[in-house]
Symmetry: C2
Subunit: 133 residues, 2 copies
DNA sequence: TCGCGCCTACGGATGTTGTAGTAGGATTGA
DNA sequence: TCAATCCTACTACAACATCCGTAGGCGCGA
């Protein structure tokens, strides 16, 4: 699972699912900001495709409305994206962060803050957190 | 420029161009690892599209073979990718680096090393060419 | 000069994505 | 009970991406 790539629009919908938790097509549609409003059936199609790809799943039926819930974890998903991106950085996360620094996207101050905020995991393979990759 | 998004396959070809420098379609093809080998004309099409998009340009003709060279800078290109990815991290580079840390993709030690390696970006424009890690 | 092999231009089959319409079943308020 | 709603399933379709084939041009060695 979670191996299939999601398109831009699909990702957008999945994001709303994360935001909303268990939700219906209508709720997703309504949660989209004006500027991104599309037709009900458009959202429906995207949700459908997300289900095909295993990114969301049907969890319940209320009346005749189907409720969906994200089937993949946000951080798991992000991890996949990062991995993809990393490929383009020769697999070097350091190069990636370097780029962030070079372009001023992130600052040394940020990094420092992160270090302090990060529970010093000595054994980096700890796998103690939420979810699972 | 460098505003046009490149597809996965196109990016793959562009990468080879960066690796090879000025090169012909055939050279690109030959440089692809076995596993990714495609037809000559496929590479040709992709190179052609890269040219359309301004990512490579014709630089010379040897015999009847056209030589191409990358027209956009690798780090410039990467910057765009990072920006895209960042959108999915709520625009927060810190979240991104956080993810890197959480997943053990990068370590605190790495970060520290980067900090030391980074000239406290007041003035230095680290225009370093091919600093491969 | 000829033919062979490599090159380019063009075209096309197939798949994916974005967007949405329609038909018809289920739900429900009056 | 009935019509107004809302939902799902299916279909449509254009734009784009991927991958490759063919036709014909060009350069070079025999």
């Amino acid at each position: 699972m979670s191996k299939t790539r999601l398109s831009k629009a699909e990702t957008r919908i999945l994001e709303q699912c994360w935001k909303l938790g268990t939700c219906s097509v209508r709720e997703i549609l309504d949660s989209l900001p004006e500027a991104e409003r599309v037709a009900y059936t458009t959202v429906q199609t995207l949700v459908y495709r997300l289900e095909q790809k295993g990114a969301v799943r049907k969890v319940k039926k209320i009346g005749n409305a189907q409720l969906f819930a994200p089937a993949i974890d946000q951080s798991e998903f992000r991890g996949g994206l990062v991995r993809d991106l990393l490929d383009l950085f020769g697999g070097s996360p350091r190069l990636l962060v370097s780029n962030l620094l070079e372009t001023g996207t992130i600052t040394l101050r940020d990094l420092k803050a992160l270090q302090n905020a990060t529970p010093s995991r000595k054994s980096s393979r700890g796998r103690g957190g939420k979810g699972h990759a």
